[in-house]
Symmetry: C2
Amino acid sequence: MFKEEQIIKICKQNKWRLTEPRLEVLRIISHSKNPIKAYDILKKLANKIKNPKPPTAYRAIQFWQKHNFVHRIESLNAYQACSHGHSHAGAQFLICDDCGKVIESNLHEIPEILKKNTENKTFKPLRWNLEINGLCNQCS
Amino acid sequence: MFKEEQIIKICKQNKWRLTEPRLEVLRIISHSKNPIKAYDILKKLANKIKNPKPPTAYRAIQFWQKHNFVHRIESLNAYQACSHGHSHAGAQFLICDDCGKVIESNLHEIPEILKKNTENKTFKPLRWNLEINGLCNQCS
DNA sequence: TTTTTTATGTAATAATATAACATACAATAT
DNA sequence: ATATTGTATGTTATATTATTACATAAAAAA
C-alpha cells in the first residue's frame, strides 16, 4: 500500500530511525511477489550489505512488524508487506494453496464479532490473526 | 472433548492404527494444561518410550492433527488437544498473553462471514485458522 | 562535549522440523 | 498358514527458523 517515499516520510515524522539494513529489508519484502522467508531475505540482503547475519535480517523484520508495515504469515513462516495501511489490531490473509499468493483482506465485520463472542466468554481480545487457506481465482 | 476410550473406539471404527507412540503422544498433549511444544512432548515421551527421536513425536502429532484431535497453535509452535469434536474445517483460539492458556472457541458466524467476504473476491476458502490474542478472565 | 540510548556486527547456539533409509509389523490375498 | 503388500517405526543426519550474548558504532540527549 505504501510507497517507499511515504514510508520514509512516516519514519521521519515519528522519529523512527531508518537505517540501511531496515530500508533494504523493507525493499526486499515489498518487492517480493509472495511472502518471503527470513533466510531468503537474508540471501537477497547479501547483494546490498556485506555478509549479513541472521540477526540483521530478523531485527529489521521485527522493526517493520512492530510498526505494522510487515506481517508475518504464521502458517508459512514468511513475511509480507502490509497492504492496508500501517495501523490495525488484526489482519486476515487469504492463502492460495496452489500458487502461494497471499491476499491481505480486511473483513471489517470481524472485530465486532470478536468483541461480541469473546467478551461473552470474558476474554478481552487485543489483536488477532486470521489465515484462510484455499484457492485463488487464478488457481480454482 | 474426547476421553481416551472414546478415541480408541473411534480409531477402531475407522481402522486407524493406534500404535504406542501415537497413544502416548495423545496422552501427553491431552494432559497438558496449555499448548505443548514438540520437544517438550518428546521429553515426556522419553518416560514411556526408550530414547525417542524427533520424528517419532512429529509423526504422532501429525497423525492426530490429520484426524483433527490435535491442533497446532501456529503463533506458539505448540500443540493442543481439540476440544470441539474431531471434524471441522477451521478453528478459533483465544490465546491469553499473560498465562498462556488457549481456549478453543467456536465462533459459528465466522464461516458465513468468510464465505461472503472471500467469494466476493473469488477466493475459495477451504479451511481457516483464527488466533486471537488478549487476556483471559483470570488475567484481566 | 560528555553521557546515554539505540542500532549494528559477529560468533555461537538454540529451537523447530524434515529427509532418507533400514527394519518391523499389520492387513490382505493366496 | 504363508507370501505379499502397505503402513509405521527406529535411527542418523541434516535442514530450517530464530535467538542469545557481547563488542562496537552511531545517534540523540544532557
